[in-house]
Amino acid sequence: MITLVARPAPSRFWSWATPVLAVLATMLAGGGLFALLGSDPFEAIRVIFWDPLFGANAGYFRGQLFIKAGPLILIAAGLAVGFRAGIWNIGAEGQYIIGALCGAAVALAAFPAESALIFPAMVLAGAFGGWVWGMIPALLKNRFGASEILVSLMLVYVAQNLLAWAAFGPLKNPAGFGFPGSRNLQQYPSAHNAELIAGSGVHWGVVAGIAALIGTYVLMNRHIAGFRIQVAGDAPKAARFAGVAPARLVGFCLGLSGALAGLAGMFEVAGPSGQVTDSFNAGYGFTAIIVAFLGRLNPVGILLAGLLMALTYIGGDMAQLTLRLPAAAIQVFQGLLLFFLLGMDLLTNYTVQWGKARA
């Protein structure tokens, strides 16, 4: 008989060991899956995890790692703050879209003027758009007690329809022969979020992601707001006695994570993506939730988790190309990662005992 006994406090050792174990278990189970599909499991794991970092043309792929991880890290940094307080923003994808739309709209309104003020204005517009989209569930929660999980998720679909409308309507490229999609911001120097060092993959969005990690670290560890967030998450009832105003906390967490997601969308549309199209959002807002948990809601963890997720995407595409693995197998592989992580979380909060538990 296996018995689980709750630990008095989460184990520090296991909270760091489980992500590593989860990655190893994923490699094992994923390798088995690839073997069943007729691929050499060792080669598949090598193609996914090793080749993008150290194989042929790794110079290019290391840069792509930052491009792919940048938005994930920026969004996850904001989400982690809310998650610690038990405030569940599931709609980062929508905030990302609205941020991108607002940022792109500023640039397209200014086109073709060239000015050093355009890019900063886009940054502000992107953050503002995401903030507004995050504040809607916050206000509804505070005013009517609506679940922020459902409201923020539903607003993703609203944002997607707004995106389609904008791509086919007001933001459509007037020089595009009636085809959907905006002008390409990569060809508009004042608005282009270019790589800061050519070939490095590091653009302003990556810098913002790192800054957000440092900022949230300081907030959580050196600031009274961080203490309140922690208390609200760990002991909601006690939090009131510690002077936490729940409504203000909800607004702060959803607003912050919304603004950072909006920023991520804006940096993406002005840089690697370039265009507002109806399918411009590639699911970063949802993947960032996985990144936040994989990183244990901790800044250093999120940095590593973001890079790891990016690696599985890039390596996954590579495995499709060179090993002919189907895309679905790669998605299952990524799903396994989250599955093992959440499963092994048990070890952080419980000890496993064989035989009858002693009270």
Binding site: F177, T277, F280, D317, M318, Q320, L321
Partner: protein
């Protein structure tokens, strides 16, 4: 050119040069050809048909070619990375099979001048970038004719994906030919704003059926509308692939994307060194658009009429957009006997007279 883009160009040129030097040594090796798909190859629609084309290339050239593909690539930053991955992996001919890949193709093609790119349904070309598309409106004329004959309620439904020229051509062509054989026909249009989303497509089908439509056409790729039509006991047409599982009814025929002939021709051109950038737009005549088997639910004389129309279009003796035709607002478009040229069609953004549905703006 600012400093950043100059530095980028320099770095990439160096990378491309080293790649170009590398390739000379592989001259005797098989030609590597890669395909990038927007959906899963199992979508049984758009991406599935492109993958059939890839398999036709393998069948035609055997071990002279090595093909590979990446599926489910979103139309955003990932497209550019995957195209670069393909070029770096030594592929010399790369097919990008969705409209939204256009700017990514142009960016990557500029960095790899020795790699040839083929972009489906786009309008930007370069020395190493071709575009190709199929004249789906030719097939729509044929199934429009069948639809006009088969409707009892005189209401034909059309599930549009996006209001872009290709889709507008199809709606107009289907309507013109349905009306030609049945002057009482009305066309109801619902925009699904998706290429592939079974739930949305089923909703669109249900809405049209509720309006009294008894023949349904679709420019979206899933079989969800077929299933809805089966429940309602009305007729449909397969889209992109044959959707033969729903024959003989509700699916009474289909319009099939057949990319194989073009892919085989282009890979052949690579092998004999005659590849040059072009803008290909083929139809029924070249086999790019196929009409799936017309089922027994359709009377023999209607079937004969539809096949005769397909033959005339294929032979080039009849063009589906032949005047006199007016725009929906009543203004003149084509004079009697005038044929729409490709420039008009590739920017088509209005309905023809008789369609009362609104074009979304």
């Amino acid at each position: 050119m600012n400093r950043r883009s100059f530095m980028t160009t320099t770095a990439i040129t160096a990378a491309a040069l080293s790649l170009g030097l590398g390739r000379a040594a592989w001259a005797a090796d098989p030609l590597k050809v890669a395909f990038m798909y927007v959906g899963p190859v199992g979508d049984m629609g758009w991406s599935f048909q492109h993958d059939q084309g890839r398999q036709a290339v393998e069948a035609a050239f055997g071990d002279k070619v090595i093909t590979s593909y990446v599926e489910n690539v979103p139309e955003g930053p990932d497209a550019e990375r995957v195209l670069t991955q393909m070029a770096l992996a030594g592929n010399q001919l790369i097919f990008a099979t969705s409209f939204g890949y256009m700017d990514a193709v142009m960016n990557v093609a500029a960095k790899f001048p020795n790699v040839r790119f083929e972009h489906a349904t786009g309008y930007k070309r370069a020395d190493n970038v071709s575009t190709y598309d199929a004249r789906f409106y030719e097939g729509r004329a044929v199934i429009g004719t069948i639809a006009g004959r088969m409707t009892k309620t005189n209401k034909i439904g059309y599930i549009g994906s996006f209001p872009i020229p290709e889709v507008v051509q199809g709606i107009n062509s289907a309507f013109i030919h349905a009306r030609k054989v049945n002057p009482a026909v009305e066309m109801k249009v619902v925009w699904a704003y998706t290429w592939f989303d079974p739930a949305k497509e089923a909703d669109a089908a249900a809405a049209l059926i509720a309006e009294g439509v008894d023949v349904l056409m679709q420019h979206t790729d899933s079989t969800a509308p077929q299933a809805k039509a089966q429940e309602a006991g009305i007729y449909t047409f397969g889209q992109a692939s044959d959707m033969g599982a729903f024959a003989p009814a509700p699916r009474i025929s289909s319009i099939i994307d057949n990319w194989g002939p073009y892919y085989v021709a282009r890979v052949g051109a690579m092998l004999d060194g005659s590849w040059a950038s072009n803008g290909s737009w083929e139809g029924i005549g070249a086999g790019a658009v196929g009409i799936g088997e017309i089922s027994d639910a359709v009377p023999a004389e209607v079937k004969a009429e539809a096949l005769a129309l397909a033959a005339a279009i294929g032979a080039g003796t009849y063009h589906p957009f032949t005047g006199p035709l007016n725009k929906a607002d009543g203004s003149a478009w084509l004079a009697a006997g005038q044929v729409a040229d490709d420039g008009m069609l590739s920017g088509l953004n209005f309905f023809v007279e008789g369609i009362t549905a609104q074009m979304p703006q």
